[in-house]
């Protein structure tokens, strides 16, 4: 695609000169603006700026598109995958399961692999948006190796739709250099301190399940409640807290690292990553409870590069690859083969494996919350308030 193809250089210059000669007019403005566009075309056509992929594509094609969550993979693994197969991985990051569902419902997402959370899979199946997995293409999947607590949700009516990636908890991360020595142990602390000395320094997820769920926990209600009265209480709290928030975003690591934010709702792995780099940042599970979850790899209906999708999933659940993933993302996995390869410190890490009494208080997300119109609307009202 050379620019000469649609307008000759001479012509172009002639036109340009016409603008110059004529008195400066509105069209002069357009001309100058448009010149930028033309310049971009020329730039793209310059030899040497374009390169072809480093190696010939194998039979799985040269690309695969992965829809996943922030800070969720070891970038090195994708480089290895490219070296092994010739396929590049494009990583698209999402902030909530609702966003993933909306994109798939609108059609033509272009994803090959996506990472749904346990409670959403039945909805994907009933909406006919997810592909039953051909296990013969996933030799690294060994059903018996997984803890059923964290792999069951991938199987709907006996069919495997999704294979486990890792599991985790939803707590909060707090920079203890600002707590003044007072212990933070509950969601009550989280919300109360936000309205007090953490004002302007707290982040919550842009995600109905956790933001509403953990507000419900303030009152001791179920994390999954869809009861209108209980949701009304949660909404009142959220609206009261909103002026004290730093931001509403599911990508909270940059702000926590830069010191702009002091406390945030947080998933296990982000807590681990932050804590490893900045020890003052601690990961806390609210003692009232909260969310326990498990994420899965799945293939959406109509994935454009299906073979590459299988190859990528198979690659990522390879125990060795998966172990590298764990070291990078800091989430526990349900795969006993992977755990066998992990160092003891990881397997005994209190962030990844919280004390039993804390775990016992947690709940898995319920499918009803994903499609419940009241919860969706509550979060939207909270954000637009």
């Amino acid at each position: 695609m050379k620019p000469e193809d649609y307008i000759s250089k001479r012509k172009f210059m002639e036109e340009l000169r016409r603008y110059q000669k004529g008195s400066v007019s509105r069209r002069h403005f357009l001309g100058v603006t448009g010149l930028g566009a033309a310049a971009v075309v020329l730039g793209a056509a310059m030899p040497g700026l374009r390169t072809t992929p480093a190696r010939a594509a194998t039979d799985i094609g040269d690309r695969v598109v992965l829809a996943t969550w922030p800070n969720y993979h070891d970038p090195k693994n994708f480089e290895i995958f490219t070296e092994q197969t010739g396929a590049f991985t494009q990583v698209n990051v999402f902030g909530s399961n609702e966003e993933m569902l909306a994109k798939l419902q609108a059609g033509g997402s272009g994803w090959d692999v996506f990472v749904p959370t346990n409670y959403t899979i039945t909805t994907y199946v009933s909406e006919d948006l997810i592909e039953p997995l051909d296990l013969s293409k996933l030799p690294n999947y060994e059903a018996g190796a997984f803890d059923p607590r964290f792999s069951d949700a991938g199987i709907v009516d006996g069919t495997v739709y999704a294979v486990p990636k890792n599991w985790g908890t939803t707590g909060f991360a707090v920079n203890t250099s600002h707590t003044g020595g007072k212990e933070m142990a509950s969601w009550k602390d989280f919300w109360d301190r936000t309205m007090d000395d953490f004002s302007g320094r707290t982040m919550v997820h842009d995600y109905q399940l956790t933001t509403i769920g953990n507000a419900l926990k303030y009152f001791g209600y179920s994390f999954n409640s869809v009861d209108p009265k209980e949701l009304a209480d949660a909404e009142e709290l959220l609206l009261k807290v909103k002026p004290h928030l730093f931001a509403i975003s599911s990508d909270y690591q940059p702000a926590m690292r830069s010191g702009d934010a002091w406390m945030t709702m947080c998933w296990t792995g982000d807590g681990k990553q932050l804590n490893s780099d900045i020890p003052e940042i601690q990961y806390v599970l609210g003692k009232e409870g909260g969310e326990l979850w498990s994420d899965y790899y799945a293939i959406p209906k109509g994935a454009p590069h299906r073979e590459a999708a299988y190859a990528l999933i198979n690659f990522l659940i390879d125990p060795e690859v998966n172990a590298r993933e764990v070291l990078a993302h800091g989430y526990p996995v349900a795969d006993s083969r992977t755990n066998a390869l992990l160092p003891k410190e990881i397997l005994e890490d209190p962030i990844l494996y919280p004390a039993q009494e804390l775990l016992d208080a947690l709940e898995f997300g319920a499918a009803a919350t994903l499609t419940d119109p009241n919860r969706a609307e509550l979060l939207a009202r909270f954000k637009s308030a």
């Binding site: 509105r26 569902l101 909306a102 419902q105 928030l245 730093f246 010191g259 499609t371 609307e377 637009s384």
Partner: protein
Amino acid sequence: MTKRERNWLLLLPGGAWFLIMLVLPLTVVFIFSFGERGDAGGYVPAFTLEQYANLPARLTAFENTMILAPIGTLISMLIAYPLAYQLAVNTSRKWKTVLLVLVIVPFWTSILIRSYAWIYILGGQGIPNLLEMLGIEGVRLIYTPFAVLIGIIYGYLPLMVFPIYVSLDRLDKRLLEASSDLGAKPFATFMQVTLPLSVPGIATGCMLVFILLMGEFLIPALLGGGKVFFVGNALVDLFLQSRNWAYGSAVAVTLIVIMLVTVTVYMRLISRLNTQRDDVSIM
């Protein structure tokens, strides 16, 4: 073939395109705005005014938009005018083009990337950090309405500079000279000659920027931290998060109506204000 037939033929492809890609979509949105949300989201046909009745739930988004868009437009204009004046009146021909081009060059970098740069500048390691060194502590800029305001002014300043520049550049310099020869003070000359003649440029620039700001979504999303919500953000949320197409359509229809009314009234006012009506076209 008569001339009339020929004209019809010329209008056919463009007309068909507008029909399918503009009239049809807007009609669908209008119809959907009377529908209901499906169980798993999306749209279910119905006839109800419930979505419109529910509009007050997005009142803050409408308020934010209708407050910040005019303020942003006004401040852009106040910043752009002296610059445009300087370029059009006080700059030699040689430098004019270069300086003018320099105003648009930032425009060629995606607004996404430029806004991201502002996250850094306004974030804790940027300006607040500098202020701290000067002894001013605890200033928070990022993820505030102020950050969004900076972002929108920055993003659309060139669109304001250009039309004003064009209207000032057309101004006959002899008028200014005549005015000062007649003993008018520079300020009086400006108020009585320059300013009135540049009204068309101001009007065009303000309208361009205002239209874009009313539909803005990116800058509040990036610099507002999910807290400073414009109608655009409410729309994105309704379609891409809560999947309530019916309610989203009602919000969209409302936004369209508000814009149609504001812009039409604005254009009427301007054209009454100023006889050079031609210059107040949208482009």
